[in-house]
Symmetry: C2
Subunit: 263 residues, 2 copies
């Protein structure tokens, strides 16, 4: 049991959603890497990634999605569409979603001016668009390439390039307030999931507050299944984990605790 | 120009959406590979992937998402949640979304019985759940592991494991009817996107029916930008491509036609 026992009351569940903006993700041209990064890193903070949407570079679609997600989840993150070119329309859309004007943000201008002076690159009008920020938003620092993201309401607007997004997330990580953190027990078993399915169902029925997932794999010609138990109540998790190990042994196989406690 | 000139009338745009079902994608445990595969392969058929949602293994969330996507897009594909374990709830949810009962499908039972006879594995009650199909749905063949997917209305329900999903997609590919196929011109330029941004904006304004995308990259210490033009009208695409090449040259650099005509 952790210092803070979680079985004494309902868990404080804090949720997040990700909105990925960009035709190139939908066309398959670019493979998204931001969902997996945010899912893992938010979980470490006690925030559960609960939905993700990918939309085209389309004003109405972006506005509708950000409103729907912002109403439903505690935190919303967006990635993509904040560069200097005409197809970067995220700022304007988020501003409209919140009924805010877009202003040329003085602090963002200062940072970008400094960055382009240092790098000797012309700070032209299109690059100055990256200092456009919805009125009332606060900046998210960009330690990689200067152009800031921003936060408005519960929406965090970040770059799409993974290295830049990760740098921004590192800057804002400490400002996020998580709830109880889901713990996980991961048990590897050298059986097809159909073998343990009935027993797993029974264990799930006895522990309705846990999520028990079954993820089959083929590895080096061998069939196997990762059985992952997740929940807030560590005592229930430990007891259910023991039942799953006993189930695997009852089918003549040896369970193995996986080194990865979340994956 | 292709045999069928597309500049004579409005393009026939056929759209699709993908619904990815599974906690493990949102937690970051598993990285989705199905969106990129379907985005590319549907485009080859003249079908535009227009939205993607990732939802948890939650009945209400799955039903709401599949209804919203089914109403809006021509085709909806789902991946994940059709295995033998208790957490595989996709079939029941899709059936509810369409107001259909779930039946034990005779042909699915026949295929699975044969498969398990061949492999010498017990065809137990939980594995028989994989023959549960919404009443009125038609089967999607699974050349990899027998358990079929299914189609109901405009929704195609497929496995989440990429190898199985791709096998299913190959089986149903010929049954899909695309519209006009978007063509792409991809031009690599050794300049930051901020350099060409103003000129690109002007070209985009002159060709409002084309999508002009700007995708910056860093490669071997060099900054560069992929400029990708997409559209139905090949003549407009060729003319706009020439303008983009001229723009790059006007900034003292040599454009390079990228071998990848879609990526």
């Amino acid at each position: 049991m952790s210092e803070q026992s979680l079985s004494d009351g309902p868990a404080r569940v804090v949720t997040a959603a990700l909105l990925i903006i960009g035709n190139e993700i939908l066309s398959g041209r670019t493979k998204d890497a931001n969902l997996a990064f945010l899912g893992e890193n938010l979980n470490d903070l006690g925030i559960q990634m609960s939905e993700c949407r990918v939309v085209r570079d389309d004003e109405a679609d972006i506005i509708a999605a950000v409103r729907a997600l912002s109403e439903r989840y505690d935190y919303v993150f967006t990635t993509g569409g904040i560069g200097p070119t005409h197809d970067d329309i995220t700022c304007a859309c988020i501003a409209k979603a919140f009924g805010a004007a877009v202003i040329r943000h003085p602090e963002a201008m200062r940072r970008l001016t400094l960055h382009y002076e240092k790098t000797g690159v012309e700070f032209n009008e299109m690059r100055q668009r990256m200092a456009n920020i919805p009125d009332g938003a606060s900046l998210i620092d960009n330690p990689v390439s200067a152009a800031p993201g921003f936060k408005i309401g519960n929406v965090y607007v970040m770059a799409g390039v993974p290295r830049i997004m990760q740098g921004m997330f590192d800057e804002l990580r400490e400002t996020l307030t998580g709830g109880d953190k889901k713990q996980a027990v991961s048990i590897l078993c050298p059986l097809g999931e159909g073998v343990v399915a009935a027993g797993l169902q029974e264990i799930q029925d006895r522990y309705p507050d846990l999520d028990i997932g079954s993820y089959p794999f083929f590895r080096m010609g061998q069939i196997g299944t990762n059985l992952v138990l997740r929940g807030f109540d560590e005592a229930a998790l430990a007891a259910a984990g023991d039942e799953v190990r006993a189930l695997v042994r009852a089918h003549g196989a040896e369970p193995e605790d996986s080194a990865e406690d979340w994956k």
